[in-house]
């Protein structure tokens, strides 16, 4: 069965979602709601034959009372206003903003734990890229400390990212602990201004109390394959290094180039993860 979905927010993320949702057979895109009638996102939605509402989210929800799921790609502040409007209408929300009102979800790690949550939050791009690795390593031994460094192209970091740098490092570090299973976590983000822009690169360091080296390496490869199933540009940049009780993993993320340029893997992994969550909701309804 297909789910009727809509996108809130007509910026970069919302517009990239437009393409990913429109081609997903499990999802029926109804339209996009924004606040800027002149935005390129709304123009593209209109051109694709979808509803494009510029009169605010409440109006859009009233005009389209049959929605199952919305993706919120607006802002943390706006999401806090949208959440009660959605809850009162029984519309489920996949939140891509840093609002973190609902439980944190990284599809490869804990998607099935929150299939009934009215609102789930996708944490950060850094968490989406690194938590699956830390969780896989936690299954191979006891991770005492996990540290990740996410490097993204300066041009892929808009004003939202820049004004939420602390939220990024704090939320990502927390997710290494709560979802990744590490006893302690630390996250660092670097905006790289190189031209041409670089794709997203992540270094994951994990220090172990106890470690099965062979198990660690194979569990990382398996996690990368699972994430790549829903984020096609996700891959190991080099083989994991295992030395002195520490494993270092390098993963990179190239975007699909739907709306955002291919270097913006950091944004693509968010929209891809969001679509994977919605797809899982649809799979579940189909098996009921």
């Amino acid at each position: 069965m297909t789910l009727r979905v809509a996108i809130l927010g007509s910026g970069n993320i919302g517009t990239d979602l437009l393409y990913k949702v429109a081609r997903n057979p499990a999802l029926a895109l109804v339209g996009m709601a924004g606040i800027d009638p002149a935005s390129e996102g709304l123009a593209r939605a209109r051109a694709g034959g979808f509803a494009a509402g510029a009169d605010g989210v409440e109006r859009f929800l009233d005009d389209h009372p049959d929605l199952d799921v919305v993706f919120d790609a607006s802002s943390a502040q706006a999401h806090a206003e949208h959440a009660p409007l959605l809850a009162s209408r029984g519309v489920r929300c996949i939140d891509l903003t840093p609002a973190a009102l609902g439980p944190a979800v990284v599809p490869d790690v804990n998607l099935d734990e929150h299939l009934d949550a009215p609102d789930v939050n996708l944490v950060t791009c850094g968490a989406q890229a690194t938590v699956p690795i830390v969780a896989a390593l936690s299954a191979a031994g006891r991770v005492a400390y996990a540290e990740i460094v996410s490097t993204v192209a300066s041009r892929s970091a808009g004003p939202g990212t820049r004004s939420n740098i602390d939220e990024f490092t704090v939320a990502t570090a927390r997710s290494l602990e709560t979802l990744g299973g590490s006893a302690a976590g630390k996250a660092i983000i670097i905006l790289n201004p190189a031209e041409p822009p670089i794709i997203m690169r992540n270094t994951i360091y994990a220090e172990f109390a106890t470690l099965e080296e062979a198990v660690a390496s194979s569990s990382v490869a398996e996690a990368v394959a699972r994430v790549a199933a829903y984020v096609p540009g996700y891959r190991l940049a080099a083989e994991p290094l295992v030395a002195d009780g520490m494993v270092t993993v390098f993963v990179e993320v190239e975007g699909a180039g739907d709306y955002l340029p291919a270097y913006a893997g950091n944004l693509d992994i968010m929209t891809s993860a969001a679509v994977r969550v919605a797809e899982r909701y649809a799979e579940r309804l189909a098996t009921r």
């Binding site: 740098i165 602390d166 660092i188 905006l191 270094t203």
Partner: protein, 104 residues
């Protein structure tokens, strides 16, 4: 301010206890910081930078761990300073605003 137009005023910020920590793999002890900061203060240096070489919160695998925390090193410097001002380095994405406020 007019005199700056003719003779630019140079203001020193000594970074021995911050940038200098790279050279010793961030192994400064609070005792060393207190001693050096105190002598720099006596010498009339107006601002003294202290902490991990890459700034607040940088102690990590990526940037190398410190023997002592930023808090310990900054406290040691504060004990020694009379007239000089304490300076820190801060890079968004590494340190957080909370760490900056703690240092203030």
């Amino acid at each position: 301010m007019n005199e700056t137009a003719t003779a630019p005023r140079v203001r020193l910020l000594d970074s021995t206890l911050r940038d200098g920590s790279h050279a010793i793999r961030h192994r400064y002890t609070p005792e060393q910081v207190e001693l050096v900061a105190g002598r720099l203060d006596e010498a009339g240096v107006p601002a003294i930078g202290v902490g991990h070489g890459d700034g607040l919160g940088a102690a990590s695998i990526q940037y190398m761990r410190s023997l002592h925390t930023d808090d310990e090193l900054l406290s040691a410097a504060r004990r020694a300073l009379r007239s000089a001002r304490l300076a820190v380095t801060f890079q968004p994405g590494i340190g957080t605003k909370r760490q900056l406020e703690r240092a203030a």
